[in-house]
């Protein structure tokens, strides 16, 4: 079946002010509706920068970016209505409880009380936070905060969900819960764009990936196919190391 594109990026370039190397250098990508898309790459590759431009937090220097057919500059309000974001950092009010946080964001999204109650109950239970719903977040462990950070981004059931390293710093159990839940959301029709450093996770989870390094896309496609195409590669991790090299980044 012909895949319908939901995010189109053409020749996207971005150089941060005061920096002489571009954080994103002429990137082109198409992400189709219903995909789980993995944006993979070493530290400082430009993953967060890409998501920030897609969300409208950063201005691009050059290129064309469309989400669901809307231009990110001119129709940003249309885009905001259909996207959700799970930021890399924990973006919650530390001195409030999970319930207070979720109620606040939910109501800001305009969810009515019934819907809000149903969604918070559902998500908190699913993520194993039901018992902690009335404790202050600052008393939470890192993994608990991550799970709640995720819930705050999906509460309003967005059509497109951006996740910036949602599984970083969580244990195996939490990771599985998170990925399972994301899979479920995806089945209900949400397109997922997620960044990660975990190749094994991405190999299993993603329907499509792009490996980005130093602001450039090195490969892009279905993980299984990419492994097959490159001789000597048995997993996404070997492919990744083959393409990005073994030296340390981000220094």
């Amino acid at each position: 079946m012909p895949l319908e594109p939901i995010i189109q990026i053409e020749n996207l370039t971005k150089t941060y002010r005061g920096s002489d190397v571009p954080a994103l250098n002429n990137i082109s990508l198409t992400i189709s509706k219903g995909e789980i898309f993995g944006l993979l790459g070493p530290n400082g590759a430009g993953k967060t920068t890409t998501l920030s431009i897609l969300c409208g937090f950063l201005r691009k220097d050059f290129g064309v970016v469309k989400i669901n057919g809307f231009s990110i500059e001119k129709e940003s309000n249309e885009i905001k209505k259909i996207v959700g974001l799970v930021p890399q950092e924990i973006a919650l009010y530390e001195t409030l409880t999970p319930l207070e946080n979720l109620r606040f964001f939910g109501k800001m999204y305009g969810l009515d009380n019934d819907k809000l109650r149903q969604r918070t109950d559902e998500c908190l239970t699913l993520m194993g936070l039901d018992k902690s719903r009335n404790k202050l977040i600052k008393t939470f462990s890192g993994g608990m905060k991550r799970r709640l950070n995720l819930i705050a981004g999906i509460l309003h059931e967005p059509k497109i969900l951006f996740l910036d390293e949602p599984t970083v710093g969580v244990d195996v159990q939490s990771r599985n819960v998170i990925l399972e839940h994301l899979n479920e959301i995806n089945k209900k029709g949400t397109t997922i764009i997620y960044t990660s450093h975990y190749m094994e996770e991405a190999e299993q989870f993603c329907t499509s990936i792009a490996i980005i390094d130093s602001g450039e896309i090195i490969v892009n496609g279905n993980p299984g196919e990419l492994i097959r195409q490159n001789e000597g590669c048995t997993s996404l991790e070997t492919l990744y190391l083959l393409l990005t090299g073994r030296k340390l980044r981000d220094n």
């Binding site: 941060y16 002010r17 969300c55 409208g56 937090f57 950063l58 201005r59 309000n77 905001k80 209505k81 996207v83 959700g84 974001l85 930021p87 950092e89 924990i90 973006a91 919650l92 009010y93 530390e94 001195t95 409030l96 207070e100 109620r103 606040f104 964001f105 109501k107 800001m108 999204y109 305009g110 202050l136 705050a152 981004g153």
Partner: protein, 426 residues
């Protein structure tokens, strides 16, 4: 509207969870009013009510010395000491006592001071009534002229000095006039050979009556409480910019603001919620400070704060100041890079605006250029508005200008903040 209430509720929760911050927010202004008013209450009194300690040494023993001593004693402004208990009072010991600060002022009328006046009067009058033109000094031989020496404690304020000098001048003039008159009278009776003596009467003439200019207010007078409570209240209210900028920057650093930016229109709502909540905080601070002025300070002997007759105008004025403070805080919090920046710049800028606004030093004694600059300080608008209500007895229409300026200032600040965060996408 629903989202605004949701946001205010969230801000409220964040605020009350920080118990220590909350205590600081409400106790510090109370403490500030307390200390500032008490300090200034004393200086107000020193001029008005407490007496100036004066050492007085009369080496003249004649009309001038006696006249000045009586004058000083009867004026009520001065506590006059003429004898020391266990030491002799002379010019030397007087100098020492004043330098040591035991007395603020020492006055010596030197020997022959009255004589000097007499000689002068004599010569002037004789000149008038004699046909020949005789040099006065040569005839009466004024060898040594008596004088009045005043020692001042170097610490003493200029205003005290002026008070004392004026009083001395006044007493001296009186004695001089009397002596002149006596000679004049004597000369006239000599010339006219009458037995009737003319009498000197220094009383009468033009009287000066002192009154505070009040428009509509009759019962309150300018006093330390009426002056200080509104002034420091404005100052304290502006200090909410510190917790407010902290709140904004924390929200930004935590990334919660990113979520808000992804919800159409919610950023502005969130900003308005902060402004609304901190206005309420300001008003509570204001009420607490008024309570201190009305009920607590008087226990310590200060005058009771009077709110003036126009309570509605007072509420409007407080609201306008609160709005301006909150607007300024939102602007600073949005533009500042870190909380340290916001806190130090914020605190210093409020102090500068307060100084410019006339909260430390009255605007009218500033140099001309500073007086003009002070017109641009929102704290000046706040202060002027409150003075209108607290000291001049003005009503709502008298503070419309100040309210207008404060509200406009706030709107401009919020717009700057809103535009800044919209444009600032690097």
């Amino acid at each position: 509207m629903k989202r605004l209430i949701t946001s205010i509720h969230k801000e409220f929760l964040i605020l009350i969870r920080d118990k220590a911050g909350l205590a600081i927010l409400f106790l510090m202004p109370v403490f500030l009013i307390f200390v500032m008013t008490l300090i200034q209450d004393n200086t107000f009194r020193e001029l008005d009510e407490t007496q100036i300690n004066i050492l007085f040494l009369d080496l003249d023993g004649d009309s001038l010395g006696v006249g000045i001593e009586q004058g000083l004693k009867s004026s009520g402004f001065f506590a006059v000491t003429t004898k020391m208990e266990n030491a002799e009072l002379n010019q030397e010991s007087m100098n020492r006592l004043v330098v040591e600060g035991k007395y603020q002022i020492g006055i010596v009328v030197t020997a022959g001071a009255t004589e000097t006046i007499r000689n002068k009067a004599k010569s002037v009058i004789e000149q008038q009534f004699s046909d020949e033109d005789i040099g006065n000094e040569s005839k009466h031989g004024l060898k040594e002229s008596g004088k009045i020496i005043v020692y001042f404690d170097p610490v003493i304020k200029n205003s005290y000095k002026q008070t004392v000098m004026m009083a001395l001048q006044n007493f001296t003039n009186n004695v001089e006039a009397k002596i002149n008159f006596e000679y004049f009278a004597k000369e006239i009776s000599d010339q006219l050979s009458t037995e009737n003596k003319l009498k000197f009467n220094s009383e009468g003439g033009v009287e000066i009556e002192e009154q505070y200019a009040t428009g509509k207010l009759t019962e309150t007078f300018p006093n330390s409480v009426q002056h200080n409570v509104p002034a420091w209240a404005v100052f304290a209210m502006f200090f909410i910019i510190i917790p407010l900028t902290g709140n904004i920057i924390k929200e930004r650093d935590s990334g919660s603001v990113l979520r808000l930016k992804l919800i159409p229109g919610s950023y502005l709502v969130s900003m308005m919620a902060k402004v609304s909540l901190y206005i309420v905080v300001c008003l509570i601070q204001f009420v607490l400070m008024l309570i201190v002025g009305m009920y607590i300070l008087p226990i310590l002997g200060t005058p009771v704060l009077s709110l003036g007759p126009h309570k509605f105008a007072l509420v409007c004025m407080a609201l306008a100041v609160a709005l301006a403070a909150a607007g300024y805080g939102v602007m600073l919090g949005t533009i500042a890079g870190t909380h340290d920046q916001a806190a130090s710049f914020g605190a210093v800028s409020v102090i500068i605006l307060a100084a410019l606004g006339g909260i430390w030093v009255p605007v009218f004694i500033m140099p001309g250029i500073m007086q003009t600059i002070s017109l641009f300080s929102p704290l000046n608008w706040g202060l002027e508005g409150f003075y209108e209500l607290f000291l001049r007895g003005g009503g709502f229409t008298d503070i419309l200008l100040q309210i207008g300026l404060l509200v406009s200032f706030s709107i401009v600040m919020i717009l700057i903040a809103y535009q800044y965060q919209r444009i600032k996408r690097i």
